[in-house]
Symmetry: C2
Amino acid sequence: MTPYEFRQSVRRGEFTGNTAGICDGYIQANVAILPKEVADDFAGFCGANPQACPILAVSEAGSPYLPTLGKDIDVRTDVPGFFIYRDGKFAGEERTLLQLWRDDFVTFAIGCSYSFEHILKTAGLRIRHLELGYGVPAYNTNIPNKQVGPFGGNLVVSMRPFNAADTIRAIEITSGYPNVHGAPVHFGDPAAIGIRDVDEIDYGGRSEVRDGEYPVFWACGVTPQVAMISANLPLGIGHAPGHMLVTDLPLSTLTSN
Amino acid sequence: MTPYEFRQSVRRGEFTGNTAGICDGYIQANVAILPKEVADDFAGFCGANPQACPILAVSEAGSPYLPTLGKDIDVRTDVPGFFIYRDGKFAGEERTLLQLWRDDFVTFAIGCSYSFEHILKTAGLRIRHLELGYGVPAYNTNIPNKQVGPFGGNLVVSMRPFNAADTIRAIEITSGYPNVHGAPVHFGDPAAIGIRDVDEIDYGGRSEVRDGEYPVFWACGVTPQVAMISANLPLGIGHAPGHMLVTDLPLSTLTSN
């Protein structure tokens, strides 16, 4: 299935699930949708926290389209699920934004670690959550984001377990892809970044770290949603964690060097 | 002091020590000197084990000069110390090769991890053995080298301790320098690569791994000397571990991408 065909199936309501492993070889994006009056601050927040929030595209105000990311993308219908935040609190999930859309909304598409999982697999690494059929496990940390305007909060990380040799390879490979979170921010002792127990997941799938493996933590695109909550806005919208916008851009467009 | 001035002080016998931290910013090289009749096999061994034995230069047979590596280099006098191997056994140390030199000797200069330590320091990482004033600790492992002709043996690794964040940075940085051993081969549990205790050092300096740190292991240029021993040659010569040839080549010539 091409990314376009996949987005059409999302638009028709046929696919409403986690996009882990979908359309291997294409960039997936986190989505953040905010009123125009805070869009500049949010862009600044992303720029100040590039490992968590690498911006792939920004829409025109009021436009639900992201033409640089793919054919006929309408963010209102082409993402499998949305989280709605009101006054700094989670306020429910929506399948589409056709009812909620406003003509002052600006959409940010932000790089997602699902994009580099295909590259890791191609290099022979095994991705535990994909093999188990789950979304990637993600956690709140105690690492503060750089505050810009009302946006702050702490870094969210995703986790994949690897042995030492594969951890080294994963670091080598992902450091070449800064637009999809780049190298890990931490590995090993979860408590060092404020995670009490890797089995207690804050967002996403399921964790299974086996003997001889390290949990390896990457900056995660859920971070902008935490920033949105911290900003205490009347209304902000993100993708449902793990439910990404699948773009038409091949991963090869991400290579930085 | 320039590398040329440093080599002159070695030639005059004024400097006979470990070259860790000497002439920051210039490539240092491991040295292997072998009779011409086994030089092709040794070149093949290096090619088959590039992480341990990245070749920087090879001399003409009988010539002690390495003109591509620096001004007026005479390997017989410009390396602070040599290990002599006879019939597969260590047979003593020499300050110069002026007595032992033969007109069928071929010199191999091989990349050395001392070269990237300056790069790691520039990036803000702290190199424990330099801060303590020792050579880098190095160990025999149970990882077999790829055998070519008579040359085999197991990989030798050097070790630097880092916390998780600095381990990630060290992997990111050194993976860009394949000509000086590239990324680490292992970190964490030493027993996984056949090292019983990091405090029991086989070559070089002293180890001090502190709480919250991992021992991080890189392929080491002592490996060719182990290969020389395994080949059971009548005569082979290497640099004394830690006593490197300091070249005129700036580290910037190493950048691979």
